[in-house]
Symmetry: D3
Subunit: 141 residues, 6 copies
């Protein structure tokens, strides 16, 4: 029963429960923060604005969670050796997500997106997409 057809050894690096990792999870939540801030400024209604702030708080918390999972579970010592900025990058991204919770400046959310994009670059440089995602093309194999 090998529908997707990728070699089993590809997963050897990865202990359960590492599963599948993709910075897209953190990015989607950070994009929500970015858009919520835009909508916040586009409205004059107090109830709408209150909800926007509260929902942003939850979305930024999810950013932190998804970043933590990547940092804890995807990245390994060999990655850190090649990318020694990894720890600071994640730490600063988590602190930026905290800032986004408190802020209504869209620039703060944009900066968080940039940080996630840097993490995404390292994830790609370390073979993340091939090692962790299940490719669509593979299905027809």
């Amino acid at each position: 029963m090998r529908i997707f057809g990728r070699p089993r050894t590809a997963y050897a690096h990865c202990d359960l429960p590492c599963g599948v990792y993709d910075p897209a999870q953190a990015r989607i939540e950070a994009e929500s923060c970015y858009k919520i801030i835009e909508k916040y400024h586009g409205s004059k209604e107090d109830i709408f604005r209150g909800r926007a702030l509260h929902i942003k708080e939850e979305r930024a918390e999810m950013v932190k969670h998804h970043l933590d999972v990547l940092w804890h579970d995807y990245f390994k010592p060999e990655h850190l050796e090649k990318h020694p900025e990894l720890h600071d990058l994640f730490w600063n991204a988590a602190k930026q997500a905290s800032k986004v919770k408190a802020s209504v400046e869209q620039a703060d959310a944009a900066k968080l997106l940039d940080m996630i994009d840097k993490i995404d670059e390292i994830w790609r440089a370390t073979g993340g997409p091939e090692k962790t995602r299940v490719l669509k093309a593979a299905k027809s194999a």
Copy 2:
């Protein structure tokens, strides 16, 4: 402070808290189920296998949650008119996710991935990526 530079009217279709939608969220969790089943069959250790089943249960629950959000909040009556299969597609995908909770057949997880890919196609056909995601390219605008 308009760093990403997309026109505000682009979001008019979308009530808070719709935020950002992408079937990738459901797919990543379904890929986890797919891989967990593979690892389950690759191990003979009871503790590992028990954890695999339990973690799969949680991941499949997340698939259902992300699909529900798309169905409730992203899709609108005008989408249903053009894609009358929408309700059945989501209903069957939710039922397939339930099946994946109970199953250790990788084909069941692969079928769930196919269903999510069909939802993804409709999301794309309805302009989902442009309407809901914040593009990287936009940042330099």
Copy 3:
């Protein structure tokens, strides 16, 4: 050890984890929304009103969750055949619950209650109470 005394075959239709289903779960949360809106209008205190809006948001989210579970797990293709309005009913109820999150109009919560009551009627028409609840009377059997 058969205290409640209902025949085992009664559960054959129902895969674990279907358990026990009752639209009362969604209704109780929707009633909370209804009452919270009433209290919101009955108070002039900002802190109280802020809390009311926030708690309503959570309760309406629970309505959506309980409706999703019913739609995914209780209702089967044979029910849909007899009640072809099922999909639209659930979809519109989920959208109404989203509206209740954003609204402070009690009529919006009342409309949500009506929709849940229609789902409840179908649940009853399909034998829900007998098939899924554990009756008190049965205990003395």
Copy 4:
């Protein structure tokens, strides 16, 4: 905007976030435990049985949560005066729910249902249904 038409003073006893209380919430979860144990014994498959135990654990936790909310938030000192057994009843029900987590004896779940029914009786004796639920009949008022 008074669709349900019940006098506002009826809620005076009740601070936000008391909302709506009904022991039915705890009962539905406890019924799940009861049925899950039945299904557990009706199956010989290890995977099914493992899932049954795990889902029962979650459902029994929800019983405890719903009982806690009733005890903390619905019941008031005047109720305790008339029903001095209240504290022991809740304490023992919580301990019974813990037992149900660990047990595969259906009698343990049946005993938990009995305890919830006793709590339900006191809830009714203290006017719980009228004070906390939103009646269907009221809608046409």
Copy 5:
């Protein structure tokens, strides 16, 4: 493999999942409420104040949860016999935590801390620290 070196019989009183209990868990969350109220009064910014109220609500909910666990799972009938005030103490602490949710008076949070300290005293009097915590000193044994 007995690194911490405490006799196994020490845990005989304690069914899984009792684990480790310490009123410090409830106290830390209640201290958060106390400090959040102080910061609330120290700020004039609406967004900051809104966040403070919302985070306090979550922290007070955690106080209730940790107290419930202690009451359900740590305390046993023999403790109640020696400390008959136990039920009222927990009930009133839960109600005080509800009050802290609604209040911006620091005295309300201080009163909650006092109540937790009384529970802590009983926990100590019943041998809680020795029975439930894993001591640092033990590690070198």
Copy 6:
């Protein structure tokens, strides 16, 4: 209304929602893992052992969460300067918590406790107890 009597300026370093931090939160959960493994080996019952593994998984997840909060929110650049091992310490502790999820070796949980104790030392060296906890003694001030 200043019952605890500590100077307001003491909190200036700390943005909401930093609240109160204490590595005791992570330690209590890690102690649960330690004890659960001991109980696991002390039992021969399959159901008990299955529950032990599952509850350990949840407790270890809580360890990770509490460590993340400390790392993100309590520790500041000036702490990192004095304690450059901070990032590695947290990263390795998170990876050790993942190991404890998978392991039934008590030595793995003991090693996690040691790591948390090292974090606790740095927390103390940076003035954590005075800066973040609300002291009992302060109440009588």
